[in-house]
Amino acid sequence: MKFALFIGCNIPARLQQYELSARAVLGNLNIDIIDIPEFNCCGYPMRNADFKAFVLLSARNLALAEKQGLNVMTLCQCCFGSLKKADHLLKGDASLQNEVNTILAKEGLMYMGNSEVTHFLSVLYNDIGLDSIKDMITNAFKDLNIATHYGCHALRPSDIMQFDNPATPVLFDQLVEITGAKSVDWALKLECCGAPLLGVNDELSMDLAEKKLADGKQAGADFFCTACSWCQLQFDTVQKMIIELRGMDGHLPSILFPQLLGLGMGIDQEALGIKMNDIDISGIESFLS
């Protein structure tokens, strides 16, 4: 199995542990990762301001992958959502496609819609399968409670994303549970982390994050688990800021899914960037059997 890995902008600059751990895990699972250094921003931050510029940014990535005959695997769910949305719009609008292709032609690229966009979690669940991953678990967790955070743009709009049932998703929970951890039920599981508004309305953004933290803790979770760069930054870097700015007591550290899975597979902490999180997650080792 071969994918073009789309890491986006946040991960290489602020969340290298996501890339590190994902590569380590994918390597263990014998997935071929192709890097396309020409990839650019998925277009997500552009969506508020200029719809066509957003589509153009996305389309260029899709055209680059298409040129190499590859499907795209994203790590971030906002990249996932944006690329899929743009793909959907382009497929249904010939004149938009034309407009975009006129610009892409300047560098010998063309979007034709032959490259599929998928997310890291979907690849694990659909392409590799729970059983095969389970076989790789050497150090299962014990008595570990995880609050899975799906991320909005993977689930919704469901007609385009086709990730899982948007109201009662199970994909992420099942993936977490094969590591031996328990995925707890929590009320705000499917709500937004608040990251899209950080920098625009910090109070609101932090309110939403804080509510989710409280809810996760109340449900008995030891850790959040995410598979999106924005959600992770919100629950890690921004949580740390909330603690400093708002004096919130107690915290709920957040672990990236490939970090969790990697530990279960017996991959070295260093290779998973465990020490790179802002809020220390090294305590999770004590849950390993």
Partner: protein, 586 residues
Amino acid sequence: MVFTLLLYTSLTVFILGMIYKIFTWFSRKIGISANDITTSERVFAAAKGITSTIFSLKIFVLLKVFILDVLLQKRILKENFLRWAMHMLIYGGFMLLLLMHALDTIITESFFSEYYSTLNPFLFLRDFFAIMVIVGLAIAVYRRFVLRVPRLHSNPMDYYVISILAIIMISGILLEGVKIASYTEFQNMVEDYAEADDEEETTALENLWVKEFGLVSPNVKEPFDQEIILQGQEVHEMNCAECHSSPKWAFTGYTTAKIYGPFALVLDRLGSVNFLWYIHILSCFFGLAYLPFSKMIHIFASQISLLTNAVMDNEKSSLANIATRQAIELDACTHCATCSLKCSVAIAFEKIGNFNILPSEKLQSLKAYVANKNIGEKQLKAIQEGVYLCTNCDRCTVVCPVGINLKDLWFSVREELIQKGHIEPLMLSPFSFYRGLNRQSIDSKEYLKPLIGAKKAIAAKCELMNKPEDIITLPPANKRFRDQVDLSSRSDTYSYCFSCENCTTVCPVVENYEKPQEELGLLPHQIMRSVGLGLRDMAFGSKMLWDCLTCYQCQENCPQSVKVTDILYELKNMAIKENVRVHSNS
């Protein structure tokens, strides 16, 4: 005499220029943090920083960077072999020419007591180095004008640098060519160096030089008498060979002489040796005098940028030194466009058309801005949009061949610009995420101002929203506005809305407030109805629009399949575009 006068004039201009440049490095202010630091504080901090670095283990880091990045230019090699080859040829060839040829009386003579510019290996090397530079320049021209690398833009300064180097090199070769062929030069040389006052010997020598060394003489023509040539050889060995290798070794000049062919005589009589000498010398001196004011200043500034960035740590270094480094970094930029080729949002330039989106062009604009902060509102707004339209992916900083810490430069300039009070609608998008993450490093009083300003500026244009007591007269439908809401797929679904309020009920933002109507203005279902009624002001003016998370809960839960989130996206697009337009006209 003329030479000395020109040399000292250009050298004086160069030195004064460098003094001025260094003064600007310590006095020009970029970004918010530089504002309160005086020039003397910066000079003092630099002296302290340099001393403490030199007398620490960091000296080894400097040494390593100097060898790998400054001399061998590993960073360019990492990006692209052709570019590395191009720059090494130009810079290597030119430096060697400078040391061996231009400064021969100072450098070469002191190392080689037997030095004559006409003697090998110097004769050959001079041409070899020149060819290096010319091949390098040819690659530069090829990249910029033939290959047309996308997003590699050329500005007048780029043309100037290629031209001045080309003029210096080509005039040198043409000069060498006419000198090789010149009969006047030959006569002068014979007079000065040969002890052959016998006419017969001189003629023999002349025959030999015409046959073997490219001389074009009015007296001597083929066929040559073998005996005279042999005699000429003897005279040559006795008088010339000791200080003059065969001009064939000066392969570029010799080839040029051959190309002149019979015209060499005319050229010689017209005084072309003198003329070309002036061109060569004047172009060299002009290049020297203009160096501090051209992008060639990078030969100094880029080294400083590479070295300082290798040892400076933003957490620990003094703000004064960071301010100075950032001023130097502007001059370190060679406008090579590596950053723009790697920029994560560069392609957006094709749609938005603002050059300042491309980091390499943004930096050029910043140079102008820093030199004169009153560059006009339009230009300022364009730079501001360019600096804000950035995902802070840091790729530009990682790839910059001269090690400019672009990410810090952008951050610092971004703050300075938005705090000036010009409205930046892009602030109301996830482009602000990075600023939010770094809010603790921004003065808390200044942090919110530009955000509030942007929201207010958009709301100010929505009269209906601002005068809630006014009764909306029917039919108010702004049909044009309503029809515009159709950019993305099926967003015209707003007309299916029957106000069941599902969207509002599931909205986590609405849920967050006790009195959402007061906090947010209109709620999602009300915005949908406003669009349906064509009430532009109501749709744009509510705070809800900018507090939308785009989590798609509303859209997912709409029983009428109204694309609520997509419509909100579009309204934001329209409001931002309208605001940009209105603003740039004012």
